[in-house]
């Protein structure tokens, strides 16, 4: 057996785990590890410009590939800088392993230089964490961390490693375990057959059904089965912000996104439904609006791998705990058996009436059945996303930041495939988009990767333009330039009589074209609608260049529909500045 130091074991274990990239930033507490990576490690390391970006890049990589993202940061400020990204991954259940350096064991608790209690600080935002006390424990701890991060409901796992544990002058036998078993951790492998049968019966008796699919379907790779189920039953499907792509957007059964900025037809269908099949979704407050008024006549079937998600906010009539694929597969079997016995199910006539109603809603206010914005002198933000969709053939990876641009992207880019739409839904982290796009582009260098952003968000991690230069990650940055913190302004318009407290930058914005040029990239400005498509095409044609498109859009536009709050139900929406349901 080989003898390795703690630092070398980390390098080797990451290789043995099949890690493709490490995103990180060095510092005192991790120098032994970095030296080991430098000397002998096949896993490439991406040096970011801020540890938050390392976590978002690893996160973007994980969302696009389904494999855990890996982060390496130093103790103290390195660790605390990573916190926002860890919380972002936690809220969206993204698999991630974060290795953080720690001061030497004998200094812990003494307020040593760059000491911070990383296990303590990260506790509420991790799935689990470890503090490694002995070098011999490194291989098994890393194995456990990857196992925990990527199974059950995925999430970030922190491994805190005191510097002395990685010292080069002490070596130990290295053996990387093939598998792990933990008596205290055993995620559900399949759903309860009886419950699934009950659910199948309820689905077949439905007259106004809706399938409400969330990020769990994307993360659990359940899109194909979900699509089969919806098609076999001819049921309408709506996806959450996190679930976009779980069901193909261009299929006629797709109702669009639901929730606060969801489609009229999706929110109306939910409100009037009699049976809701919720899959890998968590009845988030941005979906339900006022919980007590949520879907008054619906019976709810809730499939989730995490029992704590079920009946947390909205009570489920038929809870099913299990991985999405195993449950859907069994449900498809049950449905088939039931229909073989009784071919009159489901009630086709009732479904026809339901579809007729849905098509009416769609025709009235659907975002894809007519132009719902009013063209003024400016380019409309929606038109930018439509252009992006056309130019990329609907096949790009789209990351986004947080704000109006995020909602426009979610509404107007029609995602037909899972893992293509990459955004911070749960935590809503501005600054996520660019580093996430880097991670995606590294995973899929031949694919188009676009980051839809705003001037506010992009400046939260704009330093990563330098990382993009170093590692040649030619992503396309689509800046919906409205010269405001647009989403904040929208709320101030609607709830604070247009008092724009701290939502303008006055004249302080940089010249983005010059700025990106300074980093060695290409910048383009678009002010006229006639130039939009052509410029977009030109940008995407520059395959090996990062292009920043600074697109001036209508600064006064709002995102609609928008749920009426407080006290509104799913069906209470603003449809424009002066029209509500």
């Amino acid at each position: 057996m080989e003898l390795l130091s703690g630092g070398e074991m980390i390098a080797r274990a990451l290789e043995d785990e099949g890690v493709e990239y490490i995103f990180g930033y060095p510092g005192g507490a991790v120098l032994h590890i970095y030296d080991a990576l430098f000397k002998d490690c096949k896993v490439p390391h991406v040096l970011v410009r801020h540890e938050q970006a390392a976590t978002h890049a690893a996160d973007g990589y994980a969302r696009a590939t389904g494999k855990p993202g890996v982060v390496l940061v130093t103790s103290g400020p390195g660790a605390t800088n990573a916190i926002t990204g860890i919380a972002t991954a936690y809220m969206d259940s993204i698999p991630m392993v974060v290795l953080s350096g720690q001061v030497q064991s004998h200094l812990i608790g003494e307020d040593a230089f760059q000491e911070t209690d990383m296990v303590g600080i990260s506790r509420p935002i991790v799935k689990h964490s470890f503090m490694v006390k002995r070098a011999q424990d490194i291989p098994s701890t890393i194995k456990k961390a990857f196992y925990i991060a990527s199974t059950g409901r995925p999430g970030p796992v922190v491994i805190d490693i005191p510097k002395d544990v990685t010292r080069p002058d002490e070596v130990f036998e290295y053996h990387y375990p093939q598998s792990v078993k933990m008596r205290s951790y055993s995620p559900a492998q399949r759903g309860h057959t009886g419950q699934i049968k009950k659910a199948a019966r309820l689905l077949l008796s439905a007259r106004r059904p809706v399938i409400y699919a969330g990020g769990g379907v994307v993360q659990g790779d359940g899109s194909e089965l979900l699509t089969r189920l919806a098609r076999e039953l001819d049921f309408p499907v709506t996806n959450t912000l996190m679930g976009l792509g779980a069901y193909p957007a261009t299929d006629r059964r797709f109702l669009g996104m639901l929730g606060m900025h969801g489609f009229y037809e999706a929110n109306m269908a939910m409100h009037h439904s009699d049976v809701i099949l919720a899959v890998g979704a968590r009845f988030d407050d941005r979906v339900t609006n006022t919980v007590s008024k949520f879907c008054p006549s619906a019976k709810i079937i809730h499939i989730d791998v995490d029992p704590a998600s079920i009946s947390k906010t909205v009570a489920a009539d038929i809870p099913i705990v299990g991985p999405v694929c195993a449950v859907l597969e069994e449900m498809l079997n049950q449905l088939q058996q039931l229909r073989e016995r009784d071919s009159s199910l489901p009630d086709e006539a009732a479904l026809q009436r339901w579809w007729k109603q849905i098509d009416e809603w769609r025709a009235q206010h659907g975002l894809w059945t007519g132009t719902r914005y009013t063209q003024g002198e400016h380019i409309m933000p929606q038109q930018v996303i439509e252009s992006l969709y056309r130019v990329t053939g609907g096949d790009a990876y789209v990351t986004s930041d947080v704000g109006q641009h995020q909602m426009f992207a979610a509404q107007y880019y029609r995602f037909d495939k899972p893992r293509r739409w990459i955004n911070s839904g749960g935590l809503g982290t501005m600054g996520f988009g660019l580093p996430a796009a880097m991670g995606v582009k590294l995973a899929f260098p031949d694919m188009d990767v676009a980051c839809v952003t705003g001037e506010g968000s992009i400046q939260m991690n704009i330093q990563e333009l330098s990382t993009c230069t170093q590692y040649n990650t030619p992503v396309k940055i689509i800046n919906l330039r409205n010269n405001y913190l647009g989403m904040v302004k929208q709320w101030q318009d609607m709830q604070y009589e247009g008092r724009y407290a701290m939502s303008t930058y006055e004249d302080s914005l940089p010249d983005f074209v010059k700025l990106v040029e300074a980093y060695g990239h290409v910048g383009m400005q678009v002010r006229k609608l006639e130039e939009l498509d052509a410029t977009m095409e030109r940008a995407f044609a520059m395959k090996d260049k990062l292009v920043f498109l600074d697109i001036f859009v209508d600064p006064m536009e709002h995102v609609y529909p928008m749920h009426v709050a407080p006290n509104g139900s799913m069906k209470d929406m603003w449809l424009s500045k002066n029209e509500r349901t």
């Binding site: 506790r123 205290s184 951790y185 029992p307």
Partner: protein, 163 residues
């Protein structure tokens, strides 16, 4: 409703802080908390009491079960169980009150475990209610110090919480 939740967890550093942190993070209350190693040194037994409606208790137990360090968990209040709280209480015992304190202690089947010229230290075990009643019965007496272990509990009969 008051519930007694008892669990086996890995005897690892940080395990307790995850349990306690969960309660503050999600806005639940811990009324009492008792934790110690078991006959198996790799496992600790933690018993806590909390108050909540059925929905809250369901969420609490689900979230506790999700903690990687928690191996097994039971809500003792769902079945017949035995619960014990231990109290050490130091009271001023002078003059006529010395007899009075002794008598009350006997009635509650407590023991005087330390005697000083002016103070008694009494040990009492029982349900939390019993200990509360004892404190109430001591209303005439000058209570100097109260220490309670928090509730420890176990199911009645054959039912066991083990691996």
């Amino acid at each position: 409703m008051r519930r007694i939740i008892s669990m086996l967890m890995e005897n690892e550093p940080g395990a307790l802080s995850r349990v306690v942190g969960l309660f503050s993070q999600r806005g639940y209350n811990i009324e009492t908390l008792n934790v110690a190693a078991t006959d198996d040194p790799t496992l600790s037994r933690l018993t806590l009491t909390t108050v909540g409606d059925d929905k809250q208790i369901e969420q609490i137990t689900k979230h506790l079960n999700k903690l990687v360090d928690v191996v097994k968990l039971v809500d003792l209040t769902e079945g017949a169980h035995i619960e014990r709280d231990l109290m050490l209480i130091k009271v001023r015992a002078q003059g006529a009150l010395r007899d009075e304190v002794k008598r009350t202690t006997d009635i509650f089947r407590g023991q005087i475990v330390d005697v000083g010229p002016n103070v008694y230290t009494i040990q009492l075990t029982g349900t939390s209610d019993k200990l509360d009643s004892f404190v109430a019965a001591m209303s005439e007496v000058d209570i100097l110090e109260v220490v309670r272990s928090g509730v420890a509990g176990i199911s009645r009969g054959e039912k066991i919480l083990s691996l």
